[in-house]
């Protein structure tokens, strides 16, 4: 709630405008019945027709002015809704962008979308339009009550006894509404997520012909949404319709009590008319309360969810120090990482000096990518430290911690945007076109990019659909190169490239000389030239050394080498012999 007030405070001008429109609108609309009363008493009951225009013109004017102020009130309140939404949405988006990987594991994109779209919309609408409307009703009711009391206290009391009853109904039903609205907005998030998954995995769904399964999966959430929506509609039907009926009875009570007084000679007919007019002005807000209630209830439920995001504190956050100059040096100092009781990395140490390269190999699931994640500070070690330039990454602000490293990951993500905008990610418009193109050339991507319909301005799809796996990988390598960062981390980045391209890319990168590299790979060809190669086994460094040292060790590296180059014999062997051996190897395998 305090948060909403803070947001609202920023829109004080709009609130003020709306409030002025509101008060003036109520004031002028209340003038109407007064003139009507006088017209009836003077012109009709007393038969003084000549006084008509003196009274009727102000009557007309009061409605015309009311219209203008109503417009001001409503337009301003709609602007508040929009502005509140906009501010909250921006902040929520910012907050999400600053979250760490743990957060994203728990909050899937579908759910987050639901929050940034529907939930914020609901809250925005309630803080703007609904809130102002609520205030209008209160002001209106108070003022109309005052007018009513002024005419005749007894009639006023008759009308007003009903109001507390309506209020009680409202207060009783609200918590139930909040609860169901809460469930319903969760259902929307679930539907969003379920659909996101089915649509992202559509290729797999189709490949196995499992469209039905996906439909059933979605159907479960759709059904829950149906159930809760229906319950909510029933709830409101049960609670709101009596409020509506009570508002009508209010008017009848007023006529009854006033009528008795007119008969007793204590009231004029004109006053009776005014009483009915005022009472009906009191009854319509009562009929709207139900609707307000539904909106407020769902806004409350939504706000709770948004608050959860805005209050989420990332575990990975800025440290105090800032790195002035990017630095390619990276050191792992006895790094151990446990995730939910499982040891992922165990006492890993290495020192990657500037301009050097480190190769990392190991079985699937041995912790290779975890090293990349630690280096990027997507996660923090359980013990030990990751250092750059001698400074613990945790002591650096995130910008510095990451700005020295460019990572190419195994699951490539490209944005649905132009190739250029994908390449200069993080430095929008700040990288010269020549550098972008040179990077693309180095990544062996230039040729195919130039052949695209709009070259570097070609829009590529979400997840880079429209490009083949290898092309996506090249673009993502080019992106890393274009960033000009001194340390390149290749997390199994060249697996989708053919050998020839991989070699070309490696050569081009080596040309840069100064670049520090960490290469996580499965192919010997990718790491063999590294200054040091680490073989990971269940999170521990099992072997380390240069290619030659590891070959001499005849351990797991040697074994991998022999598998990948089954025909490797003495280095002096010429190509023809190699083919011969290769073939025999193939025959054996069959």
């Amino acid at each position: 709630m305090r948060r909403i007030i803070k947001y609202a405070a920023r829109q004080w001008k709009l609130y003020l405008t709306s409030a002025i429109g509101l008060v003036a609108g109520v004031y002028f609309s209340a003038m109407g019945p007064q003139y009507i009363q006088r017209i009836i008493d003077t012109c009709i009951v007393a038969g003084n027709g000549s006084a008509f225009f003196v009274l009727a013109i102000p009557l007309l004017a009061s409605y015309l002015i009311t219209g203008v102020f109503k417009y001001i009130q409503e337009f301003a309140s709609d602007c508040i809704s929009a502005a509140m939404q906009n501010c909250m949405r921006r902040d929520t988006f910012r907050s999400i962008m600053a979250q760490d990987q743990y957060f994203f594991r728990e909050n899937n994109p579908g759910e987050l979308m639901s929050r940034t779209k529907q939930d914020i919309e609901t809250v925005g609408f309630s803080t703007g339009f609904i809130f102002i409307f609520f205030v209008e009703i209160i002001v209106h009711v108070i003022y109309m009550t005052y007018c009513l009391v002024r005419i005749n206290t007894a009639s006023a009391i008759a009308a007003l006894v009903i109001m507390p009853v309506i209020a009680v109904l409202a207060i009783l039903s609200e918590p139930k509404g909040v609860k169901l609205s809460d469930q319903r907005s969760d259902d929307i998030a679930d539907m969003n997520q379920s659909a996101t998954e089915s649509l992202s995995g559509i290729r797999t769904v189709k490949a196995f012909g499992r469209e039905k399964t996906e439909s059933e999966r979605f159907d479960r959430h759709n059904r829950m949404f149906y159930k809760h929506s229906l319950q909510l509609d029933y709830l409101w039907a049960n609670w709101i319709t009596p409020m509506d009926a009570l508002a009508r009875i209010m008017l009848l009570l007023a006529i009854l009590v006033s009528g008795i007084q007119v008969i007793a000679g204590k009231m004029t007919l004109g006053q009776l008319t005014a009483v009915t007019q005022y009472t009906s002005e009191l009854s319509w807000p009562m009929m709207e309360i139900g609707w307000l209630l539904t909106e407020i209830a769902s806004a409350k439920a939504s706000l709770k969810k948004i608050n959860k995001i805005l209050d989420a504190k990332p575990l990975i956050k800025d440290g105090p120090k800032h790195l002035e100059k990017p630095c390619g040096e990276l050191e792992f100092d006895h790094v151990t990482l446990d995730v939910s009781g499982k040891r992922i990395l165990d006492d890993v140490s290495f020192d990657l000096k500037e301009g050097k390269s480190l190769g990392i190999m190991g079985a699937t699931g041995s912790g290779k990518s975890t090293i990349a994640n630690l280096a990027m500070r997507f996660i923090d070690p359980s013990s030990g430290a990751v250092l750059t330039n001698g400074i613990d990454l945790r002591d650096l602000d995130l910008y510095s911690a990451r700005s020295s490293k460019a990572i190419v990951t195994q699951d490539i993500f490209l944005f649905s945007d132009t190739i250029n905008s994908n390449l200069d990610k993080g430095q929008k418009g700040q990288i010269l076109q020549e550098i972008l193109e040179q990077s693309a050339r180095d990544a062996a991507a230039h040729d195919f990019i130039s052949k695209l319909s709009d070259g570097y301005d070609t829009v590529i799809g979400e997840k880079g659909v429209g490009l083949s796996g290898g092309q996506k990988q090249r673009v993502s390598i080019a992106r890393a190169l274009a960033s000009g960062r001194p340390l390149l981390i290749f997390d199994d980045a060249t697996s989708a490239l053919d050998m020839e391209t991989e070699k070309m890319v490696q050569k081009a990168i080596r040309k840069h000389g100064k670049i520090t590299m960490m290469i996580i790979a499965h192919r010997i060809s990718a790491v063999r030239d590294a200054d040091e190669i680490i073989i990971l086994d269940h999170g521990r460094i099992a072997e380390r050394g240069t290619h030659d040292q590891l070959m001499a060790l005849k351990g797991s590296y040697y074994h991998t080498y022999m598998t990948q180059y089954p025909d490797d014999a003495p280095e002096s062997m010429d190509a023809n012999e190699a083919v011969g051996i290769q073939e025999s190897g193939v025959q054996e395998a069959r």
Partner: protein, 594 residues
């Protein structure tokens, strides 16, 4: 392929609003009884509401004028009874409508989702997931309000207007004129506001959809954004799309809020004319006060539905655009159609033939990806596809699995044209694995069973054992029942699980598109052994970069320049000393550098 992004508004086919409405109303057909019942209750309720003021008139002009307190009480009690009737009727129809509208929405959403599943990959490849979601979730939800409005607002308010007009005319034709006098002004101004407003609301929807697409992409690509310190520019771009939503909304309401002015003015003018006529024309006296009160009530009763209709119409224009977007989705024809009398594909041997295939993406028909490709594969053969990135290897895989249809030419399996058989029989015989192996959030077992839900535990364990996956599964906290998702496993682990999934599905023809690219060599060695048994007796197509995989193929195809540039066994191709040989040697240069 042209791809829509969050920056562009999607084109929505222009349909007439009337058709959209008719189509929407048609959904009620299945709920005839409920709808009729609800409408009857609504009309009854409306009539009672319309009659209520005559009771107040009676109370004032007859009971009060005659000083008849008992009569007054009687009148009021009758009115109160009617008030309770209104309550019960309203509650009744609201509940009926709740059932009907929620059920229809459930059905439409289900229909939309099921329909999405039938669309070809082209549909998904050419637009962001966020935009599809926007239609499925937001736009369908808007439809519900549309229904509720159609029935619960349109019908009672129209009925109310008619009832009020009739009663007013019966009571006093001259005074009725005061209410009708403003109608021309009102109708013209409303029309202007509405018609112009329609475009604004459409625009607002589009901007929302763009924002949805952008946030969706930012959330899925968060790792890249953070890795490149691109938070700031992402936020700026996000701010921009959000600002556009804001601006388009303000623009839309600036116009539609004008309704308030129009209504208040019409009301004021109406009252003015009412009393003008009463005083100057009819020269009414004290005995008619009750009638005047009733008339004033009727004038506000007359305005109330107009106001409600105007406000509803406002929302309505907004919702019609949503409905259009939903219907457009429902009407999108898959570019891949199953033949009406499609046969079941029967695969005995697994012979595969590509006959004179040309292929281009549907939106770029001039850019041929494959040209006149003919390929005949004997049963049980393993075909390796090599060639530069983007040459069309994946396209061949896509054509055989019928993710796309060729522009011309036929693909045959055991002499059956695959465009003539059912998709389900085709896909159960042709197993496809791509490099981005997608796992669904659920248990490992659920994922393994994805291709063959009725596989036995033995089959599962057997497949996992062959791929050496059992060790990995044992290491998981709950074994086969451990929950996994896209994010929780490494690429290599996902590929392994996906491989096992395909192995369990047991297809006759295997298409492996970089299926093992992220698996390490030692694991792959294990996998290879499993694969060898897997491929035995099956026709297979393998796109791979690993030499060890390629050399095992019965035939290697070099795909380049829209077709097959070279083909033959490893040995033949080396002897030929062409593209393949060059490719192969480049690998050995590595060795030479030692």
């Amino acid at each position: 392929m042209a791809v829509n992004t969050y920056k562009q508004d999607e084109r929505v086919a222009k349909t007439s609003k009337r058709n959209t409405m008719i189509r929407t109303i048609a959904y009620l057909k299945d709920y005839k009884l409920q709808t009729v019942l609800a409408i009857i209750m609504i009309i009854l309720q409306t009539l009672i509401v319309a009659v209520m003021p005559t009771l107040s008139q009676r109370a004032v002009d007859i009971d009060i004028a005659n000083g008849d307190i008992n009569g007054l009480i009687r009148t009021i009690v009758i009115a109160a009874g009617l008030g309770i009737a209104i309550w019960l009727l309203t509650m009744g129809y609201k509940k009926i409508l709740a059932v009907v509208t929620n059920k229809i929405i459930y059905d439409i959403r289900k229909q939309a989702f099921d329909h999405l599943q039938t669309l070809s990959l082209y549909y998904f490849d050419s637009r962001p997931t966020g935009k599809i979601l926007s239609r499925l979730i937001n736009d369908v939800s808007s439809l519900k309000d549309m229904f509720t409005r159609l029935i619960a607002t349109l019908i009672p308010n129209l009925a109310l207007i008619i009832a009020v007009i009739v009663i007013m005319l019966v009571l006093n034709p001259v005074l009725s004129l005061s209410a009708f006098a403003v109608l021309p002004l009102l109708v013209t101004s409303l029309t202007v506001i509405m018609v112009k407003g329609f475009k604004n609301w459409m625009d607002y929807r589009q901007k929302n959809s763009n924002m949805n697409a952008y946030t969706h992409e930012s959330y899925t690509g968060i790792k890249v954004i953070q890795a490149f310190n691109a938070e700031k520019e992402t936020i700026e771009e996000g701010d921009r799309t959000m600002q556009e939503v804001n601006d388009s909304w303000v623009k839309a309401v600036r116009r539609s809020d004008l309704l308030n002015i129009v209504i208040a003015w019409s009301q004021g003018i109406g009252y003015f004319i009412l009393y003008l006529f009463a005083v100057k024309w009819l020269k009414l006296g004290a005995t008619s006060v009750g009638e005047l009160i009733a008339f004033a009530s009727y004038i506000s009763l007359f305005w109330q539905p107009i106001r409600a209709l105007a406000a509803a119409f406002n929302q309505f224009t907004n919702q019609v655009t949503s409905a259009e977007r939903v219907y457009e989705l429902l009407d999108t024809q898959s570019i891949l159609q199953e033949m009406p009398n499609a046969k079941t594909l029967v695969v005995k041997d697994g012979k595969v033939d590509f006959e004179h295939i040309n292929f281009a993406y549907p939106d770029e028909p001039d850019v041929e990806v494959l040209h006149d490709l003919t390929l005949n594969v004997k049963p049980g053969q393993m075909i390796a596809l090599v060639g530069p990135t983007g040459a069309g290897k994946t396209t061949i895989v896509n054509l055989l699995s019928r993710f796309y249809d060729p522009t011309s030419g036929d693909v045959l399996i055991d002499d059956q044209d695959i465009s003539q058989v059912t998709l389900s029989s085709l896909r159960s015989n042709v197993g496809v694995m791509t490099q981005d192996s997608f796992l669904f959030s659920g248990t490992i077992k659920e994922n393994l069973l994805y291709g063959k839900p009725n596989a036995t535990q033995d089959e599962i364990e057997n497949a996992c054992h062959k791929l050496g996956l059992d060790e990995f599964i044992k290491a998981q906290p709950d074994g086969f029942e451990s929950r996994v998702s896209q994010e929780s496993l490494s690429q290599g682990q996902k590929q392994l699980v996906a491989l096992a999934r395909t192995l369990i599905a047991d297809p006759k023809i295997l298409l492996l598109d970089e299926a093992t690219s992220a698996i390490d060599t030692q694991t792959e060695e294990l996998v290879q052994a499993g694969m060898a048994t897997l491929m035995k007796g099956r026709t297979s197509f393998v796109v791979a970069h690993r030499l060890s995989t390629i050399v095992k193929a019965d035939r290697i195809l070099v795909i380049q320049d829209k077709g097959i540039a070279e083909q033959g066994t490893h040995k033949e191709l080396l002897e030929r000393n062409g593209i393949y040989a060059a490719l192969y040697k480049s690998q050995f240069e590595e060795l030479d550098m030692d």
